[in-house]
């Protein structure tokens, strides 16, 4: 068969690709065996690797040994754009059709308008996806008299928070709620300076601040008691608890809202009002009523 000789170039061997393909078949057997055996992820991965690479490398070496042309091929690129005549012919045909519509241009405009209006109207049902944010965004989860409970739902005695200690709490019935989470902090009375009007918001050296970062909502849970700094782990915003939780470093621009505290008859903490501002990240009309 002399006619298939010109395709081959001297010096090429079939051994390498043949071994690669054979290895791929063996690897499939290995893969199946491991699947029915231990199903070990690493063994499965290695057999899959040998199998796929065997095919890939085999094809590549085969292509290299037998198939690469000595000389590069050259192909004409042809022209991309239509000729002037083709464009003119297109216009002629289009105009011929358009001519019949022209006198009904009002109809044409109405048709476009009707289709556009239908398209816009079809978007309206997507409003069912969520509530109007106006109301829900401004709710503050705490109300006066709400009992303070910990993550297990147990009431918290004011005396159970030591100086420098912290505890994550929620309003009773809302344990685990994203925006209700609040941090009780045993502040150092000599360093803590309450904001004006908030002198009575702490109980026995326990202050309460929203745990939701005002930057992007992460729980701010790292307390450096010595400096009275509360750190957000997400983008390192730092809030000065001793100074009304004002942000002193990082991207947060507004302080953490504070919760006024008092105690009920059993000595357990309750909210004495709602948070000083809605908790969580900002949005454009957050300060509008």
């Amino acid at each position: 068969m002399p006619d298939e000789q010109p395709q081959r170039r001297p010096g090429g061997g079939e051994t390498f690709p043949a071994v690669a393909f054979a290895l791929a078949i063996v690897a499939v057997i290995g893969f199946v065996a491991v699947y029915f055996g231990s199903a070990d992820t690493q063994a499965l991965g290695i057999f899959a690797f040998v199998c796929l690479m065997g095919i890939g490398v085999g094809m590549a070496t085969w292509a290299k040994r037998f198939l690469s042309p000595a000389e590069p091929e050259v192909e004409d690129r042809g022209r991309l754009a239509s000729t002037e005549e083709e464009i003119a012919a297109f216009h002629a045909d289009f105009d011929a059709g358009e001519y019949q519509l022209e006198r009904r241009s009002l109809l044409g405009k109405l048709l476009v308008g009707a289709v556009a209006a239908t398209g816009l109207g079809a978007l309206v049902p997507f409003l069912s996806l969520g509530p109007n944010p106006k109301s829900s965004f401004k709710e503050t989860p705490w109300s006066p008299g709400a009992r303070v409970v910990d993550e297990q739902g147990n009431p918290v005695a004011a005396t159970s928070i030591n100086t420098d200690g912290i505890l994550t709490v929620f309003p009773e019935g809302q344990v685990g709620d994203e925006f209700a989470q609040t941090l009780l902090i045993g502040v150092r009375s000599e360093a803590f300076v309450p904001a004006s009007g908030r002198e009575s918001w702490t109980v026995d050296g326990v202050a309460a601040f929203s745990k939701v970062c005002t930057h992007a909502g992460c729980p701010v849970g790292l307390y450096q008691a010595a400096q009275g700094l509360l750190l957000c782990p997400c983008h390192q915003s730092t809030f000065d608890i001793n100074n009304a939780a004002e942000p002193i470093f990082g991207p947060a621009a507004v302080p953490l809202p504070q919760l006024p505290l008092s105690v009920d008859a059993d000595g357990n903490l309750v909210a004495d009002g709602s948070l000083s501002a809605p908790p969580g990240p900002g949005f454009w009309n957050q300060n509008r009523q």
Binding site: M1, D3, Q7, Y35, A39, T41, Q42, L44, G45, A48, F49, L52, M53, G56, A60, A63, L67, S68, P69, P72, E73, V74, E75, D76, R77, G78, L80, A81, T83, E84, F126, L129, G130, P131, P133, F137, D177, E178, Q181, H215, G217, C218, P219, G221, L222, P233, C234, H235, Q236, F249, G250, P251, A253, G280, P281, G282, F283, W284, Q286, N287
Partner: protein, 507 residues
């Protein structure tokens, strides 16, 4: 087809005619059978006519042309592994269950059905962890290959006329890939992905006017909302993949229509394609590359742990895992959020919150700039001609400098996104690290851009004088001389395509 026109006058393979008849001699029976089926199909489609042109299509050969292919093959792997995963995954973040699978430390913990099924795939579905990890690695490689492919196209000027359309489609594919990657790893309802979703939500509601509505509609109310994971699931497995497939179809169709660009040399001109024929050379190389990409991903999926959600734990609103790292392609957005000083704008009672400036504006500028680049560059160069021969990066120093600068900018942001890890590694304070990155963010792009510029000039100088100009395809938009190649235009247009270091637009 033009392909046969070009190969017949002696430039094609010497045995052009003999290969056409050889198979019939070799395997008469098989040939007849294939022939009958072939004729059946051909008489209903006329496929042989088109098919012959396809067989002879010439593909230029350069390693950097494989980057887009790697992206394509990663996408195929994503589809294959993704289909398998959908058979086991349950995108329910509200239904709670007590974990009782074979991962000991999590037994007895209350988890969502979504997290539960992620653990089930990882520990109790045979081969499930392998497929899950291949899927995740393939997503990382997919976006990575897209970025490298985009860099190749940018630095070689392959986006110039007539390829602006494919540049825009490519940028869209890049965005879709990033969006789907984020949507994908947000499904598992673990602590890390929950934190990512929360930050995404905060960035979303920070957009002026429409932000709160967008947040509410996507999440079904305030974060975390009951619906977001159930909604991200069809987006991740159906909507975005369909969009990617549609965009890919356009991308590849336009590529075939244009024929691939090639680097100067080896007789490459603006009116020809120099390379290897589709059949069999290119088919074998492409097939080989597919299997090698798949094989490498299988190895990574087998031995390189990725996204171990069982270590992160289920999402709980009041917890956060510190030093949590997003997937690499989200790192630069995370870094921008971290480096932004605590500023926000208040005008007339309205607020533009901080995450808008860090989370939306840089992304909008980078993607906006990407989309607009072919037109920005054309304003500068006034070059309206068709280009099929690529620039080498050194040929256009100012473009190369800008590209390097943008890479440095996003690179600094990416490293800043891991600054907590770097702080621990190098024993810095967070404060020092943030300030270091803030300075680097503006200094490094300028410095690296300048160095790249000087390097290009130096490389050009070593090359000596530029090679002879290439023959241009006539510009029908401006000169209208359709079909004729005016000899007077040749030298002018060809020479005008090269930019030397003294280009006035280097600022």
């Amino acid at each position: 087809m033009t392909a046969t026109d070009a190969t017949e006058p002696g430039t094609g393979p010497a045995d052009d005619t003999s290969t056409d008849v050889a198979p019939a001699h070799r395997h008469p029976k098989a040939h007849q059978r294939a022939g009958r089926l072939g004729r059946w199909i051909d008489s209903r489609t006329g496929i042989a006519r088109v098919g012959r042109g396809a067989l002879n299509k010439v593909f230029p050969n350069h390693w950097s042309f494989l980057l887009g292919e790697i992206a394509l093959y990663s996408f195929v792997v994503l589809l294959l592994t993704g289909i398998y995963l959908t058979l086991f995954f349950d995108a329910d973040s509200t239904g709670m269950t007590t974990y009782d699978g074979s991962y000991g430390p999590m037994q007895g913990v209350q988890v969502s059905e979504a997290y539960n099924s992620a653990l089930e795939i990882s520990f109790d579905v045979k081969g499930g962890l392998l497929v899950r990890q291949i899927h995740h690695w393939a997503a990382l490689v997919f976006v990575g290959a897209i970025v490298l492919h985009l860099c190749r196209v940018f630095f070689t000027g392959a986006f110039r006329r007539p390829r602006e359309l494919n540049w825009v489609v490519g940028c869209t594919l890049f965005m879709l890939a990033v969006v789907n990657g984020f949507a994908g790893y947000s499904l598992l309802d673990d602590q890390l992905s929950g934190t990512g979703l929360r930050i995404g939500y905060s960035v979303l509601i920070s957009i002026p006017v429409i932000g709160p509505w967008l947040g509410s509609l996507i999440f079904g109310g305030n974060f975390p909302g009951d619906d977001v994971i159930a909604r991200l699931y069809p987006i991740h497995i159906l909507v975005v993949p369909l969009l990617i497939i549609a965009m890919l179809t356009v991308h590849l169709t336009v590529l075939i229509r244009h024929k691939h660009t090639h680097f100067p040399g080896k007789g490459a001109r603006d009116d020809n394609v120099v390379g290897e024929r589709l059949w069999p050379t290119y088919v074998f190389k492409a097939g080989a590359l597919f299997f090698c990409v798949f094989g490498a991903l299988a190895l990574l999926g087998g031995i390189a742990q990725i996204n171990p959600v069982w270590l992160y734990g289920p999402f709980r609103a009041e917890d956060v895992s510190s030093a949590s790292q997003p997937d690499w392609y989200m790192g630069w957005l995370e870094g921008a959020l971290r480096l932004m000083p605590g500023w926000e704008t208040r005008i007339a009672g309205f607020t533009i919150p901080n995450p808008f400036y860090a989370g939306v504006v840089p992304a909008a500028i980078v993607f906006g700039g990407l989309y607009a680049w072919p037109w920005i560059e054309r304003r500068v160069t006034k070059d309206h001609a068709e280009h099929h021969v690529l620039d080498r990066p050194r040929d256009v120093p100012w473009r190369t400098a800008i590209g390097v600068g943008v890479l440095a900018f996003t690179g600094v942001l990416g490293f800043a996104g891991s600054d907590d890890v770097l702080v621990v590694t190098f024993g810095l304070s967070v404060n020092q690290a943030v300030w270091f990155f803030r300075v680097a963010l503006f200094a490094l792009p300028v410095i690296s851009g300048f160095v790249a510029y000087r390097l290009c000039i130096e490389l050009q100088r070593r090359d000596g004088p530029p090679p002879l100009p290439t023959v241009p395809v006539p510009d029908t938009e401006t000169d209208g001389s359709a079909g004729t190649q005016d000899p007077a235009l040749v030298g002018d247009a060809g020479g005008g395509q090269r930019h030397d270091g003294s280009d006035p637009a280097d600022a």
